[in-house]
């Protein structure tokens, strides 16, 4: 039967969310001839719809449904209702992401083994490793058209990169380049080359940056095997007496409760909504939430330690021109405990427009100390810190029973406090980033605190032993065999790298596994 599918069709795979995980899984399954219904809470926006204006675009794309926050992270104070800057739309946060596409380092798959016991951290080895993932990474790089992989050239460096690169070289860093980016340096896969327009975070109007919204999603739909239901907000996953999932209740675009039957359900709503949905799906058989016999659903929330460094020079930089994330330093990504922390971090250029710089440079600050920095906006260069943060059981997504969303469902409360290792790494990264800029003549540099999170990871983590996590090596629930997790919430640890490439690689691999298990009659 071809899409659209009937609500009572129990042969379909239902995927919740259409971002880097769900969107890719949906297309990969559809290409294999498997019927898929994808439920997407947001609407559909394509390059012609994207708005190159920071606040207007934020209103168009950002997930603004209520969430609450707690813990000692500064986001809970400055942006208490907005723990994450992620997208509610077909294609999910692949519309917003910067495009950085780097593989985990080998040692990062085995953080527990390589970092040892870190007090207060709930470290665990992934049940998979670099060798197993290598072919899937290659498929992901080919799909996304990642620069500096295969025979694809790197992007040219913009002004912000040139300052960054000169600073890196002055400090003796050797691994500095314009990054491995899912942004075309030449026409590729029916998408044009980057025009150095800026506004990568607001959706690429040229389609030069890979997004599931205009690649995997329409290609999956073109097979006739994929139906994407927009503005369909999943409310609860249902199961039978045997403990198998049987369908998904969701609110449709008109706010009416519907139920789509399913053969398999894959959850890919990001690291807040995925555990929220599992917890909201509690039943008499699963009183602590679906797939939660380990008690780990919602726990071990990671967000990369992040932070930014902005610096002012005595001459113009115009950092907003061109690719938002235009280059990387990888020298500090290694694991080297002599620096006073385990794991490592990447430094990547970043720029914000004037409106967002005012909001994020030092949230809450005012007076001349703040405004004299903005006065020299044209002379600013900027970078972002992406480092591995420690999984902690107490950093977690829970249901806030006191706050309900527009459908009457308890919202996610996101609790996060820095681990001492996170603080030590961030302090080191600030120092190095500021030193880079100082080395090339910065007259002032500023350690900017973390923004609302874009890398949200770990709340349904993968584990070898069902006692330690929520899903197995395939992203399959330890407890419920026809329930999968397909987004960043399955990350066992966060590594230092931007997560999208790994999410995509895992989704391609998971699609292969699901198809093979279906054909064997195991699913």
């Amino acid at each position: 039967m071809a899409a659209p599918f009937d609500l009572n069709d129990d042969s379909v795979v239902v995927i919740i969310g259409t971002g880097a995980g769900g969107g890719v899984l949906a297309n990969e399954l559809a290409q294999k001839g498997i019927s898929v219904v994808a439920l997407e809470a947001g609407g559909r926006y394509l390059p012609e719809d994207y708005v190159n204006d920071e606040w207007e675009s934020f209103g168009q794309l950002a997930w603004l449904d209520p969430r609450t926050t707690s813990g000692d992270w500064r986001v809970a104070k400055d942006f208490s209702g907005l723990p994450a800057w992620i997208v509610k739309a077909v294609g999910g946060t692949t519309t917003h992401w910067a495009g950085a596409s780097i593989r985990f380092q080998d040692h990062e798959w085995k953080a527990k083994t390589n970092y040892g016991d870190v007090q207060g951290a709930n470290l665990l080895d992934w049940p998979i490793d670099a060798a197993e993932m290598a072919p899937w990474y290659e498929k992901a790089e080919t799909k996304l058209g990642v620069t500096r992989t295969g025979d694809r050239a790197g992007l040219p460096g913009n002004n912000n990169f040139k300052v960054f690169e000169a600073g890196a070289k002055a400090l003796g860093y050797g691994e500095v380049h314009t990054g491995r980016m899912a942004i075309n340096s030449a026409d590729y896969d029916d998408r044009m080359a980057c025009q150095q327009t800026g506004f990568c975070f607001q959706g690429c109007k040229w389609g030069a940056k890979w997004s599931a919204a205009y690649t995997d999603i329409p290609r999956g739909e073109a097979t006739g095997n994929l139906e994407v239901r927009e503005k369909a907000h999943a409310a609860r996953i249902l199961h039978d007496d045997a403990g198998k999932v049987t369908g998904v209740e969701y609110f449709d675009a008109d706010g009416n409760l519907q139920m789509q039957k399913a053969r398999i359900v894959a959850v890919a709503g990001n690291s807040f909504e995925s555990p929220r949905l599992l917890l909201n799906s509690a039943s008499s058989m699963f009183p602590d939430g679906l797939a939660n016999s380990s008690g780990q659903v919602g726990r071990n929330y990671m967000r990369h330690l992040t932070g930014s460094v902005y610096a002012i020079f005595d001459k113009p930089v115009k950092m907003w021109r061109g690719t938002t994330m235009a280059g990387i330093v990888q020298d500090e990504a290694r694991h080297d405990p002599s620096r006073g922390f385990v794991g490592g971090y990447e430094l990547e250029t970043l720029s914000l427009g004037l409106p967002f710089m005012a909001a994020f440079l030092d949230p809450g600050a005012w007076g001349r100390e703040f405004t004299t920095a903005l006065d020299h906006y044209e002379n600013m260069a900027g970078m972002w810190i992406v480092g591995e943060d420690m999984p902690q059981e107490t950093n977690r997504v829970t249901l806030n029973m006191d706050v309900k969303d527009q459908f009457g469902l308890p919202v996610a409360n996101v609790h996060y406090s820095d681990h001492p290792n996170d603080k030590a790494m961030r302090a080191h990264a600030y120092k190095q980033g500021m030193a880079m800029y100082d080395a090339v003549g910065a007259t002032r540099s500023m350690p900017t605190p973390p923004y609302p999170s874009t890398h949200n990871l770990g709340t349904n983590r993968m584990s070898e032993n069902p006692r330690d996590g929520v899903v197995n090596r395939w992203g399959q629930s330890h407890d419920v065999s026809n329930l999968f997790v397909s987004d960043g919430s399955q990350f066992t640890t966060g590594a230092a790298e931007n997560p999208t490439l790994t999410i995509v690689a895992l989704a391609i691999r998971q699609a292969d596994h699901i198809a093979s298990e279906m054909s064997r009659g195991n699913l």
């Binding site: 190159n52 204006d53 920071e54 606040w55 934020f58 209103g59 603004l64 209520p66 609450t68 926050t69 707690s70 809970a76 942006f79 208490s80 209702g81 907005l82 040219p156 460096g157 913009n158 002004n159 040139k162 300052v163 000169a166 980057c194 025009q195 150095q196 327009t197 800026g198 506004f199 109007k205 040229w206 001459k315 113009p316 930089v317 115009k318 907003w320 021109r321 061109g322 427009g353 004037l354 409106p355 710089m357 005012a358 909001a359 809450g364 005012w366 007076g367 001349r368 703040f370 405004t371 903005l374 006065d375 906006y377 044209e378 806030n400 006191d402 706050v403 409360n413 090339v440």
Partner: protein, 174 residues
């Protein structure tokens, strides 16, 4: 402590709409901005003219940019000239004036040095009124397209084909 959707948290979305509202007011009320000194008296809908003048000074003291003219600060706070918010704003400005009187000045506007005005603002930094005004300015001031060129910011470039041939890598001093 679990934080629920506090007024500050909500402010982000409110501010977005307020920025748009303020921009619209600017178009409608552009005429009065040319007469800098006496303008408030004829153009206010709800607030007392001296209240608006004090609010504009307060806005400049919170986010002082000497190269940005008054009209942009007026636009940034014009949304408070609203019958529904008048009590909140008049009370807030009165508390600021009361603080000034406590230091021996006639009113906030009679405090001549910026440093002394800022001291008064620091004293009320945690109040809902101050935080509402400050938070509102983040979008009300910096999201005005009219101020962007003052800071050198160029805004969108898509309609001009991006910067691929227009200087994305034109830095010469590095």
């Amino acid at each position: 402590m679990t934080r629920t959707q506090t007024p500050r948290g909500m402010t982000r979305r409110e501010l977005l709409s307020r920025g748009v509202t303020a921009g619209a007011s600017f178009v409608v009320g552009a005429g009065y901005l040319t007469a800098k000194d006496a303008a408030w008296a004829t153009e206010m809908d709800a607030l007392k003219p001296e209240t608006m003048a004090t609010l504009v000074q307060m806005a400049r003291d919170i986010y002082p940019h000497d190269q940005v003219p008054d009209e942009n600060y007026v636009v940034a706070v014009k949304g408070y000239d609203d019958p529904q918010r008048v009590d909140f704003v008049e009370a807030g400005i009165e508390s600021l004036n009361a603080a000034a009187r406590g230091k021996g000045y006639g009113s906030y506007l009679d405090v001549l040095w910026e440093k002394d005005r800022v001291d008064l603002l620091r004293g009320m930094e945690d109040s809902e009124f101050f935080q509402t005004v400050r938070g509102g300015l983040v979008t009300g001031l910096y999201n005005q397209k009219a101020v962007w060129p003052i800071f050198g910011y160029e805004g969108e470039s898509y309609t001009q084909g991006g910067y691929i041939t227009r200087g994305f890598d034109d830095i010469s001093w590095i």
